[in-house]
């Protein structure tokens, strides 16, 4: 997938030859810092991109079916029943003027030919399943009457209402506290196992990745730097960016030593560096890094990285 955004200052090359796959029943994590293209990737899969986005080349396949060639009406039917999404901030994703029960019932009724009563019964069952206390009461509550944690539980039950295959969770716990975060993540994993869901978990928190994902992709400035099974990524990160990122995390055993940081700032995507987009900040950069664009290749079993260091390129 390569994708541009038209902006006032020029064409931003927001995604550049992004390639990854998510297995059935797998939790795949996508990590990276602000502006690296994680959320755009999710919106591309759902075909919810803004009008300023232009797909240069690419393909998104769900169970072998190409999504980019679907009509809008076909996509509409897919969203909710095959793919659904849980957003970062439940307070702004729920409609403030309708009770949450009504919002779920509408989701169900727009996909399935059921009576309102049946749809509400389904909502109560879902609320029970996601651990909301007193589900009948929650059904008639407005979003502002619920806490952040409860709102996110409502969002999750809404996303799962029509039994999708793929759930995209975009920073689902950034808006809640750590003890609630632990509850929500436990719930997501429980549901994932129970319903054999595939999950694309987008986060900037490497701790969350380590505890929830089977495989993970590390994004940098619109490119995938590395894709690996989670354990391998933390044990032996290949890409210099991943290595630095992991070293910059504060740990109690590093007390007294300065933290590793990455010099400079994230490049502009309107005028990204040539060759490898990370090369101006990379401690191992070679002359060829500014010319040749590295390809995401398998350098260890199931462990892919886009870096010339592993392509046998020397100065």
């Amino acid at each position: 997938m390569s994708l541009d955004f038209r902006t006032e200052t020029g064409t931003a090359k927001v995604l550049d030859r992004l390639t990854f796959s998510i297995g059935e029943g797998e939790v795949f994590g996508l990590v990276g810092e602000t502006g690296c293209g994680k959320t755009v990737t999710a919106l591309t899969i759902l075909r919810l991109l803004p009008k300023t986005a232009v797909i240069r080349t690419g393909s998104v396949k769900l169970q072998g079916e190409e999504l980019l060639s679907k009509t809008d009406a076909e996509m509409q039917r897919l969203r909710g029943t095959k793919i659904s999404m849980v957003f970062q901030d439940p307070a702004t994703s729920l409609n403030p003027v309708f009770p949450v029960g009504e919002q779920i019932a509408r989701v169900v009724q727009s996909h399935e030919d059921v009576e309102r009563e049946e749809a509400e019964r389904r909502a109560v069952g879902l609320f029970k399943r996601v651990g909301l206390p007193d589900p009948e009461n929650v059904l008639r509550s407005y979003p502002h009457e619920l806490s952040g944690g409860m709102q996110q539980r409502v969002m999750i039950s809404m996303a799962l209402a029509c039994r999708p295959k793929l759930l995209i969770a975009d920073e689902p716990t950034t808006a809640v506290d750590v003890t609630i975060q632990a509850q929500i993540l436990d719930l997501l994993l429980e549901l994932q196992r129970e319903l054999h869901l595939s999950v694309l978990l987008i986060t900037h928190n490497l701790g969350i990745v380590a505890e929830t994902c089977q495989r993970v992709g590390v994004m940098y400035a619109g490119t995938l730097a590395e894709v690996a099974p989670t354990k391998d990524l933390f044990r032996e990160p290949l890409h210099p960016y991943t290595q630095r990122l992991l070293k910059s995390l504060p740990r109690p055993d590093a007390r007294g030593e300065p933290l590793a940081s990455i010099p400079g700032t994230v490049p502009s995507l309107v005028d990204p560096p040539t060759g490898c987009r990370y090369h101006p900040r990379c401690e191992f950069a070679m002359a060829s890094c500014s010319v040749r664009r590295p390809v995401l290749l398998e350098h260890r079993p199931s462990h892919r990285a886009a870096c010339l260091l592993y392509e046998g390129v020397k100065e």
Binding site: T34, S147, T179, G207, E211, L245, T265
Partner: protein
Amino acid sequence: MSLLRVEGLQKLFPVRVGFTGRARVHAVDGVDLEIREGETFGLVGESGSGKSTLGRCILRLINPTAGRIWFGDLDLTALRGEALRKTRLQLQIVFQNPMASLDPRMRVGQTIAEPLRVHRGATAQEARAKVEELLRRVGLHPEVIDKYPQELSGGQCQRIAVARALALEPKFIVLDEPTSSLDVSVQAQIVNLLKELQRDLGLTYLFITHDLALVSYLADRVGVMYLGKLVEVGGAVEVLQHGQHPYTLALRNAVPLPDPDRERSHIPLKGEIPSAVTPPSGCRFRTRCPWAQERCAQEEPPMREVGPTWVACHFVEEIQTQIQTRRGTST
């Protein structure tokens, strides 16, 4: 030696309940705390625990309802007018979101020079020289002096907020979640800067955060807050790795670590943080505590020294024994 001592600090905020009812939010409710000269005291807790309110009370940005705050031998809560203004120069704060705490209509130079002009009566020229020095000090090129905050990155803005806090050469700085709006690689830069400044200038920090990993990396001592109360205080390593209060244990357990091999022992906390308008009687944590007993509802647990830390829990010894035996049988 203690630089700052907080005694029985309480802050209640009045709120309306319904149309006519009045009630009070117990934001901070009876906190005792000592911060030693040259140390970093980490204050951790979730939203609504009262950690920011405590920080702001210390600077008298809000006035406490009750209690005293001693800065050396000065009682900050008793100071008024000119005396307060003078003393405050030694206490500064860096806020969470630099984009919101820097005036978007002031250039970087003006922002940092303002305290110098107001308090030191610096001329434009003197101020400019000092501002350039401060910018270099926080790792920025002096050419940013004529820029507006919105032309800079979040990390650069936070450096400017730090430079502004340093302008009057304070002794004590409250750092209120200074890196929580930044990406980890930028956070690392700011944390390194703060440590360097502390070493070079002999600063004392109150570091407020919800990030346990960060606080375990940089704090010397740590206090854990829950619903307006301190529940555990002690050395950073002691509290964060061998903490004993059930809430400290739960918090530690809930934080995801970047270590895929860690086995999370699940003690999931029940429910959510209760309302601070009508906090639970006795121990405030009892409604979510897996070990709560009747006594916890009747009697508020006092802070007492238990092994390596100070803990406010009636049953901490029993809980520790239970955990030890459980661990013994599982291995």
